[in-house]
């Protein structure tokens, strides 16, 4: 009789232990899933701006060359952000064959030569709300004397957000404005 009772108690204990193990395993799975979701949410909240280059022109005159780019800046993050600074980085070789990169800040004034861009200038600072895309034309004015005798090797457009995080986009082909106006969609 006593032996049967002991055996039953042992069985009940083993069943309870198994149930506890199952429950704790289930809890572990649920909590790890919750942690993963939280981590993904945190990742989505991490500030990030994605610049896209839609169009780009350059116009030369006697004193300066003006670069104009149609940019769209997307914010895929869950938190609001803003473009705090916009630079054109020109890499060139000097007369003494030395490579140099300079940062040219975006020009705040609208260039009258680019009439078609008047409606939508990219005026810094620009706020970009969560999951929003902001388009606009950015101007960069470079004095001819600055690049006098230099060979321009490339350009990069860099934007800095309110958190100090930098994003870059590289224009490959920049069209001469005079030649391209006929095909400009504006």
């Amino acid at each position: 009789m006593h032996d049967n009772l002991f055996a039953l108690a042992e069985i009940a204990t083993a069943v309870a232990a198994w149930q506890a193990l199952m429950l704790s395993s289930l809890g572990l799975i649920v909590s790890s899933k919750a942690l993963r979701v939280t981590e993904q949410q945190e990742k989505r909240r991490k500030p990030r701006l994605v610049p896209n280059l839609l169009d780009g022109y350059v116009r030369h005159d006697a004193h300066c060359r003006v670069y104009v780019f149609l940019l769209s800046v997307s914010n895929p993050a869950d938190s609001d952000n803003a473009v705090a600074a916009l630079d054109l980085r020109s890499t060139y070789s000097t007369k003494s064959n030395f490579q140099m990169t300079i940062k040219i800040p975006s020009h705040t004034e609208f260039d009258k030569a680019f009439q078609c861009t008047a409606d939508n200038p990219f005026a810094i600072p620009v706020s970009v709300h969560a999951h929003q895309t902001v388009p606009g034309w950015a101007f960069f004015r470079v004095k001819q004397a600055l690049l006098d005798g230099a060979i321009v090797e490339g350009h990069t457009i860099a934007l800095l957000d309110s958190h100090g995080i930098e994003s870059q986009v590289e224009p490959i082909m920049i069209r001469e404005y005079g030649d391209a106006t006929e095909t400009t969609p504006c």
Binding site: T94, F98, M100, T101, I102, L146
Partner: protein, 194 residues
């Protein structure tokens, strides 16, 4: 709270930047519309090995005001010298280290700290300011990072002795006769420069 000196390593872009630039000339420029008319020191640097800095000075005249970080310190193995580490952020990213002899060039450092600014010019445009007053130069703002207090202790002892020795006996007599003996020569120099 008084900041404590600490050992730091700063990143450089290339090996050239690790070497301090040689100062070949200096001057003091006071203009009504810059820094409220305070005399701002000018250092003319030997940029033979630093074409990047030379180009930066050249392009700076065609671009809006740039951005610069600065810090004072002592380079390893340079006793009796203070170094000014200038980190240019725009229009181009580079580092320039200027090293000053506390006794011989301390007056320049003292004036940089008083004026909170410094003009930098390349030797290519002449090693004297008077030879080419319109040469391109950069005006770097040097805010007080807490170094002024250290500098007062560093500079007063060696510099005062040197200034007393260089002053003529007649001037020393005049100085005492005018009842200004409580003022140290450094204070005179600072009064003039402020």
């Amino acid at each position: 709270m008084r900041p404590k000196p600490r050992r730091v390593k700063f990143p450089i872009h290339n090996l050239r930047e690790a070497h301090p630039l040689r100062i070949v000339g200096d001057a003091l420029i006071a203009t009504r519309n810059v820094g409220g008319g305070r005399p701002i020191p000018l250092v003319i640097l030997d940029t033979t090995d630093r074409p990047d800095l030379e180009e930066l000075i050249r392009v700076h005249q065609y671009l809006p005001a740039g951005d610069i970080d600065c810090g004072w310190g002592e380079l390893e193995g340079s006793k009796g010298m203070v170094a000014l580490i200038l980190t240019f952020k725009r229009p181009s990213e580079l580092i320039a280290i200027l090293e000053f002899d506390i006794v011989k060039q301390g007056v320049i450092v003292d004036q940089i700290l008083t004026a909170r600014g410094l003009y930098i010019q390349s030797v290519r445009d002449g090693d004297r300011y008077i030879k080419n007053p319109d040469a391109p130069r950069i005006l770097a703002e040097i805010p007080d990072t807490g170094f002024h207090e250290f500098w007062n202790r560093l500079f007063h002892c060696p510099a005062c002795g040197r200034l007393w020795r260089t002053w003529s006996p007649g001037f020393q007599k005049l100085h005492q006769g005018a009842g200004l003996q409580h003022l140290m020569p450094i204070d005179h120099q600072r009064k003039f420069a402020a």
